[in-house]
């Protein structure tokens, strides 16, 4: 009897009711992550199309056909190139501005919490709201162009194919910066004070202390900031959809996720759309590894 119970405990654990507690979450993860993930891979390697519910149709395995279709499609290549433009502007700008502002907040100035609120509120606010505001500010006869007068770009910011993607990059930098400032601010608390003091005794000026103590001291936070901003940049949808009116002008700000929506759902080609998704995830993974390596301690 006791032997039996011990055996049962060994197999099910001391509190098997825990399995029941965790069951809803387990089912959720299987249904919302594991199954769709497998399904995404299945779709990408098959000639998959939408059918009326219940209809039995053949969806043959097509190997890498969808990937070939995608990688020879100029729109797709453009979308990835646009993402690259975005990352080149957004990632360095985000890392530099966030660290500089966090270091400035950390110098013991007054009203730190007021500044923090100002920086943080855009991060918390819905992108749809803020995109609406930016659209008005940067429209053809908007406030920014009125101030610039004859210096205003023509065509205006959001409808200029050379400026549309940089504008999105700038917008996202502004919107997300508060979060990265807080990350750096937390990391700065872990930089030993003695390092600053000894640098000061050695006669290092403020700039030199920033470069030689602060920047190396927050290296691991920098890795995180780079990876998170790469992921954010790869997943843009709301901004090109709304701010530049569906990736305009003429596809100049189309992003992979916007294409996934346009190809997969609007034009009903889920197979090629799923292939774009997989390529995107692989590229993001590679870029993140690269960022991790570049910021690693030597």
């Amino acid at each position: 009897m006791t032997d039996n119970r011990r055996l049962r405990t060994r197999w099910w654990g001391a509190q098997p009711i825990g399995g029941l507690f965790a069951l809803p979450y387990f089912v959720f993860v299987l249904a919302i992550f594991a199954y769709p993930l497998g399904f995404a891979i299945y779709i990408a390697f098959h000639d998959y199309f939408f059918t009326a519910p219940g209809a039995e149709v053949e969806r043959p395995f097509v190997g890498f056909d969808n990937f070939v279709t995608v990688l020879t499609d100029q729109r797709v290549l453009d979308a990835f190139r646009n993402t690259l433009v975005f990352l080149v502007i957004n990632v360095p700008l985000t890392a530099v501005l966030a660290l500089v502002l966090a270091a400035a907040l950390n110098t013991g100035i007054r009203w730190v919490s007021a500044y923090r609120v100002a920086f943080y509120v855009p991060y918390l606010t819905a992108s749809v709201s803020l995109v609406g505001v930016w659209m008005l500010l940067f429209s053809g006869n908007g406030l920014i162009n009125t101030i610039l007068g004859p210096l205003a770009p023509d065509p205006s910011w959001l409808v200029n194919s050379g400026l549309a993607m940089p504008m999105i990059a700038l917008y996202v930098t502004w919107k997300q910066l508060g979060f990265y400032i807080l990350l750096y601010l937390a990391a700065l608390q872990n930089v030993p004070k003695e390092l600053y003091e000894s640098a000061e005794t050695d006669g290092a000026g403020a700039l030199s202390r920033f470069w030689n103590v602060t920047v190396p001291g927050v290296r691991s936070a920098t890795t995180l900031v780079l990876i998170l901003s790469i992921i954010t940049g790869a997943n843009l949808f709301t901004e090109p959809y709304l701010l530049t009116n569906g990736g305009g002008p003429d596809g100049a700000s189309t992003t992979p996720v916007l294409l996934i929506y346009q190809l997969g759902i609007q034009q009903q080609n889920p197979d090629t759309a799923a292939a774009i998704g997989m390529i995107l995830v692989i590229l993001v993974g590679l870029l993140s590894l690269l960022a991790n390596r570049a910021t690693r301690e030597r």
Binding site: Y25, L101, S129, V133
Partner: protein
Amino acid sequence: MMTTRRRRLPRIVSTILLTIAAIAFAFPFYFMVVGAFQESPTNSPSSLIPTSGWTIGNFAAIDSRIDLVGSLVNSLIFTAGVLLGTVVFGLLAGYAMARLDFRGRGVIWVLMLLVQMVPFQLLMIPLYVQITRNYGLGDSYLGMILPFLINTTAVFIFTQFFKALPVEIFEAARIDGAGEIRLLTSVAIPLIRPVLVTVVLVTFIGPWNEFLWPFLITKDASLQPLAVSLANYISNVAQSTANPNGAILAGATALAFPVVVLFIVFQRFFTATDLGAAVKG
């Protein structure tokens, strides 16, 4: 003398830098809120501080096109559903992961880590097929809520904080004969109440601001949350309206207001480490 100067200068430079940045950050909000209450929001710098022309007509104008109140209610239902799922199932799962020894715990832990790495964008197409076509949940609150029902970051946070509680409390309660449900509701949860507030706040922001998913699965305007109906107004309706700017700013203000108020009131509960991935859903 030398050292005080060396310390003061960076502080002055910092203050100037931060003030410029803070103005750049706050200005669009100023523009949004003032414009929302102006008869015709200005495009000229000389009238940025308006003295007249105040109105609440913009809210009526946007309400006549997208049913502002109905959209806010939809946002609230979507958000409340996610909150309920995350708090109920998240607390149960977090408690089990931290405090109970059962078969399969290791598997769930690995799954939790994997979930954090799968981007929603990869799942977008299969989830869309699954939820609208297989389950027939397109244009329903349930379909909107389902992919966000249990926030994995919240489960993580709950697990970590339940783990940090002293083991003696649980042993004593178990000896007294308390069941695990009772232990959870009357011992463990009250002890992590501040964290619960943080998790609720952070979880609130995700679905409230979410655009892509509800946009994909709601075609019926009467079910759309405000983020979706405002986006539709901006991209479709506004072009055919004579003076849409005030209405856009009014809608933007209505969508932003609840989150900004929550943040300012509960500021001390927002910390960087907890916020991260949670907001990204």
